[in-house]
Symmetry: C2
Subunit: 248 residues, 2 copies
């Protein structure tokens, strides 16, 4: 149904790449995906796919190439720090076949930041000034080391506070689609009772996304039915019909 | 580094596919990925990639085909309920080119379950007995509707309690690799101070996975350095060297 919906509204699409062994080993629980998903939905941009991959150059390059070709925007999270396992910037450069080196404006951002705390800007920290040719910097108000935008790929930090600040600085520049109207009806019936009428409703409203999200509270089964669409009037009409199926 | 590690231990590999519009819209925060990642690590199975995709047949079929070819095991989460947007079972059948229909043993599981609560086993609930030909059922101790295993793909429910019960029933049957030994050292220095020596250490221990996970507490910067490997003695040796770099 999201398919149909997307075709109808022709919203911009997005994909996300979450990079880091610590996510796949279960050591760290990613929170950036859920945050970005909510922000994109508010902006009317359809998040179509998320890939979580390892700190592995060939995996990163392949994911960037595949997803940047098929989506309006790509967002990456993780791997832009100073340590040996931070290889995202170099992989982005490789994916687009452009050179990468320490860039003066990025170096100055780091120099100013570390000067304030009397910290040495050593070789490791300088790696965070490596930016692929032709990229545009993304400000990092938390710890200075910038993200960057190359082609349609937005390269951002994995640390949630920094990631969120970077999303806040890039999202307003994007042209969003029509934000979705959404209404929810809580129905205290087993999903199996709801499914029949709901399927017929979905068939009559192909332009709407109708989802059923079951819950169980103290042994009582129910489901939250969420109807989303670009046209508020259509959502209202479908929601009204749904209400007649299951009068409280 | 995970690469090197994986090549050395030749552990079985796994990929996960999280299916559901509600995850990508940000409405629901997935918890199954983090749970499975931890369980696989304990079992010595390397989770290489996770894809989160929509309730869209072509996206599901493509992901199942791609990941089942390149991994020892594939796990899916979501889309096996009774509603019109639960299309995972049909997509798995399509991915492997086998027929799918209501299966008698699955039907009996549902019939017994709903008989206990005096609930009608209607057409919608019967959809949950649709199992691809040749699949093996996965028990669902919570709400009866079974998951299934076809080829190397384990199809499980999205509801976290059911997903976890299904993981518990399938994991013990799998031959795991050597579980990783892991040690962590908390170093109260900026990651940029740690990065140099850490890179040299990683270069001297190509068989180990050495990760740096920075934190900031009350303005104080530090990092947890995690060293993982199949050989405990090697992890001990690297950790001892690391300690000499940064005496407290």
């Amino acid at each position: 149904m999201t398919d149909t919906l997307t075709d109808h509204t022709a919203n911009p699409t997005a994909a996300m790449i979450v990079i880091g062994d610590e996510i796949l080993s279960g050591r760290t629980r990613d929170s950036n995906m859920h945050y970005l998903a909510g922000e994109l939905t508010k902006a009317g941009i359809d998040l179509r796919e998320v890939r979580m991959i390892r700190d592995d150059a060939s995996a990163i390059v392949a994911a960037v190439r595949a997803l940047s070709l098929t989506n309006t925007h790509v967002f990456t999270s993780g791997g832009i720090g100073p340590t040996h396992d931070d290889i995202t910037a170099d992989c982005i450069a490789e994916a687009f076949g452009v050179p990468i080196d320490i860039r003066q404006d990025a170096r100055e951002l780091l120099a100013a930041h570390y000067a304030r705390s009397g910290t040495e800007l050593n070789a490791a920290r300088l790696r965070m000034a490596r930016i692929p040719d032709g990229a545009q910097l993304i400000e990092n108000p938390v710890s200075a080391a910038p993200g960057f935008i190359l082609e349609n790929v937005h390269v951002m930090a994995g640390v949630p506070t920094v990631f969120q600040a970077m999303v806040a600085s890039v999202l307003p520049r994007m042209t969003g689609g029509k934000p979705l109207m959404s209404q929810t009806l809580r129905i205290q019936r087993g999903e199996g009772d709801i499914a029949g009428p709901l399927g017929e409703l979905a068939a009559r409203y192909p332009d709407l996304s109708i989802g059923s999200y079951p819950y169980q509270v103290n042994g009582v089964y129910g489901a939250n039915i969420v109807i989303r669409g670009a046209e508020g009037a259509r959502v209202d009409a479908a929601m009204a019909e749904l209400g007649t199926f299951f009068p409280e």
